[in-house]
Symmetry: C2
Subunit: 527 residues, 2 copies
């Protein structure tokens, strides 16, 4: 297969820098090269400059026209998936079944945003009509809409080579918003990235999108990422990855002459609270489900349940031993890269080094594969050791045995911001713990009752986000249709003649969208 | 009148720090003291700690209950305005008529937010119902809503002692969102601030709001503001004022262990473009309106039109001389404080020092009052001197004579982010300049056709915001009902039993609000 290893800057294939690297997931067989060219400062500037010019054209396209682009990308992925997925499997060691599912999710996600654009109401049109006779001053006509911010820098995630990578959620939502995208490929899967990048550029070209609407840059160096984020024409950043990586981009963006928003989704430990009656009645089933969620894809999910709090009771040991049994019998899987594999074992040591932390399952490090590990400690010990609040990326779980209202409330108050928090309880349990549920709401983007946190539904109501340090911007989501608002801002038009207004704001409402007119929702036109 | 000069920390009147100051607007007659106590670190901590405790209670109140609080504040202001306004007039030198209007606007603003809460749809309820039969995995029930962020630090503006101060837009929108407020009074009007702060606390107490839902801190020192913004329990910041002030708060917030959003509205030069046919047909009328807008309240509006671009034509001189005539005959007014008065004259010198800038109206500095100044230069000179892009706070205007498409486009591309941009044109002019209008949209929060930028309507569609450096967060507005979303974030509930959901998300829709259910807007219940 023909892989160039080069940067895709609009329609130009470019390799100006003499620095090259091999994908962190190792070499891929039967492709023309495994040598990738780090993007140079000049290439970053070319990509962003093209993205800016493309943005000025693309942002004015109708929703239907933008939807056509997203659908064209989805179609390309659908046609090429059998060619792509075996490569991705080699690069990431993720299972074929998992990747099939992730590809379908990526395709569906593009189509969901296309449908959102075709329906059109997402622009949040707000109209307050004039009152020329008002005293002491006439009231002007004011109309508001969401418009695109500008070129967006998107950083791919290692653990989702498709759904949070080249044609993933950040790219889909930024393009849907009307932004152009300069995509920085994750060095964990540069081959997959080039393949999908080419498809996006082909799709753009075939339906006459402006050149530069999408570019793909390769790179493994920190400086490359920082140079992209600090380019003056970049107006927002989407990132999924580690805390260190996301925070570095956030800091760089805040120090720019013009600070810009950085939407970094940096993971969390996704606490799970099991309440007493549920433990008694259904502990084994809960343990089975949570253990399966914890070890899925070698625990490489940002929503992996890493902290499980269960009450002290006669069923506690049975719960823990069931959990232990399930993870013990799970087949250890290869991790994404050797770097991630080494990090996993290093992070485990931080836990086992804490006095008062008991190791229930400890597997010696094996070449390549990540074996599950399981720890246990008291609420008091947990609350006093900040290191135990940190994420271990991999199939590890920390179990806290805690049951008093005071202990649960203390944990709820002390844990940092999370992507998800799960509570298992009977109706009776949940009724008793209303105060706990109310406090937990302040700490997560998504709250789950009697389920597992892994599996992030791509839908309108999803919030994949949460208070810092889960993300750098708790107000938004990186999954679901509302992700589009990360890349837009409000603008209003005062006393504009009807013909100069965007279609969404014209009296006639030819788009037939839902609008808020003088405070009331309606899809009627204005007569 | 009994003024304590002390900090109002919930129900406690406090003066723990031996540092005092006098209001920057000078002493006020017939009040018990003009000595104000700078808030100490300990007092800041007390206020924020109380605000946090109050938030945990208040955030769970119904919309109706929160609306009652906003209405109680509005009622207090209405009852006490005759007592307050003469004091504010002394403190700020703003005219009685202007202050009457500003007070009414402040009262109306509180009531507008109260109505928003009573109607209830502002929470943006989004519901995606479950599909238990879906293959390969069941689809969970997911429901999203906006919830309050936490205690908010609000900083008052010098130029709006009522509408952007103690009970102004930031306080109203933060309280409406469900946040508590720790308000840092502007040292330009500490007396007015104490009076209104007391009214808010009285209103809170009378309708049994939790103590600490509102506190007022006095201070003139930079450190006091920074200590408030960097308190770990503060979750967002609202600010209206200078670029230097807003940027300092933004930087401090970004460097916190937990970075928080800062909504700083920092003003702009509010460019006005006059197109050729309009100039020919109606130049004198346009000059009259813009000159009046430019000198209103000594030019102390963040939407003051400070940059006016008109085409070279036989009518240009007539336009400029009409503008000159109007500002010359305007009565110079006192500025808010002597500090602002001195700044105004210093900033004027930056302009007159630039070679190629012609001074059309220059008034020597008079004690207290600010006389209008008027400058003129070419597009080329303007584009090459960044200092000319800076705001002069006061009745100053810079006129650019430029008319070619290239010059207008070059200006549109080069000007930094603005709160407003205005275009005066006939239908014919506007049709010809569609490209210019399209580019200008990227540079401002509000675009105005054939009007003046001063006068910010408080309504649903208003955007009082704009790209940096007009604000530190272009995505939002500080005026209008959407200002509420600065202080909220999305949270979603997965597979929650109906009885544990917030009322806005329960199947029955007892609040009868507009919701988005499975992608479609409806105010029906779910059966």
């Amino acid at each position: 297969m023909n892989i160039t290893g080069k940067n895709l800057i609009g329609n130009t294939v470019s390799a100006k820098y003499n620095k090259t690297f091999t994908g962190l997931g190792g070499t891929v067989k039967n492709i023309s090269t495994n040598k990738f060219y780090e993007a140079s400062t000049e290439e970053i500037d070319e990509a962003v400059t093209k993205a800016h010019a493309a943005f000025l054209v693309y942002r004015n396209f109708s929703g239907t026209r933008k939807a056509e682009f997203l659908e064209a990308i989805a179609a390309k992925l659908s046609e090429s998936k059998d060619e792509i997925l075996p490569i991705t499997e080699q690069e990431t060691k993720l299972s074929s079944g998992r990747l099939q599912g992730e590809m379908q999710r990526t395709i569906n996600q593009l189509r969901l945003f296309a449908n959102l654009l075709k329906e059109g109401s997402w622009v949040n049109a707000i109209i307050d009509t004039a009152q020329p006779e008002r005293q002491p001053l006439p009231k002007p006509d004011i109309r508001q809409i969401q418009i695109a911010l500008g070129p967006v820098a998107v950083f791919g995630a290692s653990n989702f080579p498709l759904a949070f990578s080249v044609a993933g959620g950040d790219t889909a939502s930024a393009l849907a918003a009307g932004c152009s995208v300069v995509y920085k490929a994750h060095p964990g899967h540069p081959v997959t990235s080039e393949m999908i990048g080419k498809l996006i550029i082909e799709a753009a070209s075939e339906i006459s999108m402006p050149e530069g609407i999408f570019s793909l840059l390769q790179g493994v160096n920190y400086e490359t990422s920082i140079n992209l984020v600090t380019h003056s024409l970049i107006k927002a950043v989407g990132f999924t990855g580690s805390f260190a990586g996301g925070k570095a981009l956030f800091d760089a963006a805040a120090k720019r002459e013009e600070p810009i928003p950085v939407y970094a989704e940096m993971g969390s430990i996704n606490p799970v609270f099991i309440l007493p009656e549920m433990l008694e009645k259904n502990g084994a089933d809960v343990a089975n489900k949570l253990a399966a969620s914890n070890t899925l894809s070698a625990g490489q999910f940002c929503t992996n349940p890493g902290l499980i709090i269960s009450p002290p009771s006669k069923s506690t040991n049975q719960f823990l031993s069931t959990f232990e049994f399930v993870i013990e019998k799970s087949t250890p899987e290869q991790m994404l890269t050797s770097k991630i594999h080494n990090s996993y074992y290093n992070e485990l040591e931080k836990f086992s080094d804490v006095s008062g932390v008991e190791t229930l399952v400890k597997k010696t490090k094996e070449e390549n594969v990540a074996a599950p590990n399981m720890f246990k400690t008291t609420a008091e010990n947990f609350l006093n050791n900040k290191v135990l609040f940190e994420e271990v990326f991999g199939p590890s779980s920390l179990h806290i045995v805690a049951g008093s209202e005071e202990e649960l409330i203390a944990i709820a108050k002390k844990i940092p911001g999370q992507l998800t928090i799960t509570v298992w309880g009977t109706n009776n349990d949940l009724e008793i713990q209303k105060k706990l549920l109310n406090l937990l709401e302040l700490k997560a983007g998504r709250l789950i009752i009697n389920g597992v946190p892994t599996g992030v539904e791509v839908t309108h109501a999803m919030v994949h986000g949460g208070p810092y340090p889960a993300t750098t911007d708790s107000r938004t989501t990186s999954v679901g249709t509302n992700a589009i608002y990360r890349f837009t801002r409000a603008v209003c038009y005062q006393n504009y003649p009807d013909n100069l207004l965007p279609d969404a704001l014209k009296n006639g409402n030819s788009l037939k969208i839902m609008r808020k007119i003088n405070g009331a929702f309606t899809n009627e036109s204005i007569s």
